[in-house]
Symmetry: C2
Subunit: 193 residues, 2 copies
């Protein structure tokens, strides 16, 4: 078996964490792949809250979910993920972030995620997490602005109090083309942070 | 499920890679736990070559294997792992290194692994690896000399040519007590390096 690239490893971690009936967040809907994957796991009694600031992303996600008959347990928000704290009240077992820009040839690569809104969204998700729940962040950073966001996210995560969180960095270190880095933050206690 | 500490994750990777009949190396027998785990997987048609420079480690390993009736498919070498290149000729699917010192209260913590012999052993194992085989290195570095060895191993691994190897670093980044870092090197091609 091949060592799993970060994107695949994010699904392995989701699969080990999320079960039927859970509430979960896709903080960057993109083309809908993670939303669809989460929808298939949480089933009819669970729910996926899926955010994207770009309407192209929300449309792509809606199309994919429609084709796969998965719209029933997904709520799509066409707004930035910095609104998660305001909009979501349920406790969650998982939130996933794919940071960078919307994948695909036709999309606007000038629209990228930014540290300030990203960190606000991550903090909101950490508050909503149940014990042993995971915030998973896949960091693409080859684009302009990507290095800054990567550094800010890793710096934030590495300072989280180890009494409350465990932070894993999963990274391929001999690749020229800056493959994505995965950060997984697991909550150790149910109490408020 | 909890995020797996590096030591457990090394067993997950072994489990995904090693099958019955394989030849494998435990480059740091220590108290014999990895040798025993590998022995249970490779079975009677495979073989574990297990090295340790300390006779206390070889004795502990022999005792554990004897209790578990696992001596038949293990060859124990009471010498430094820098001799791997000279002593082992078979192609292997996995080699595991636990770098630092022999765990346990009664052992001599002055006897630690060192960069020069460690790197010689890692290079020998990389040559012996089959395609998709893994060299797994669990780096303990809290002891004197540990930081230097850690830096040397990571520096070496991060410079391996991506045409021939994929190098994963699996690390917990918000812990005060320097938990071990796992490095996994996977060979991508069968040819000699």
């Amino acid at each position: 078996m091949k060592l799993q690239p970060s994107l695949y490893y994010s699904h392995t971690l989701i699969n080990q964490t999320v079960v039927t009936g859970d509430y979960v967040i896709d903080a960057t809907a993109g083309n809908g792949n993670d939303t669809s994957y989460l929808s298939s796991i949480v089933g009819s009694k669970g729910r996926v809250y899926s955010f994207d600031i770009q309407s192209a992303a929300i449309n792509n996600t809606k199309k994919l979910l429609s084709e796969r008959k998965q719209l029933d347990n997904v709520t799509l928000y066409n707004c930035g993920h910095e609104n998660i704290g305001k909009l979501i009240k349920e406790k969650i077992t998982c939130a996933i972030f794919n940071l960078g820009y919307l994948p695909g040839q036709d999309t606007n690569k000038n629209i990228i995620t930014h540290s300030d809104t990203t960190l606000r969204a991550i903090k909101a998700c950490l508050k909503l997490l149940k014990k042993n729940g995971l915030v998973i962040i896949v960091l693409y950073y080859g684009h302009p602005g990507g290095q800054q966001e990567k550094n800010d996210v890793i710096n934030f995560a590495s300072k989280l109090n180890q009494k409350f969180f465990t932070v894993l960095k999963y990274q391929f270190i001999n690749q020229i083309n800056e493959p994505p880095i995965l950060i997984a933050i697991q909550k150790k206690k149910d109490e408020f942070i």
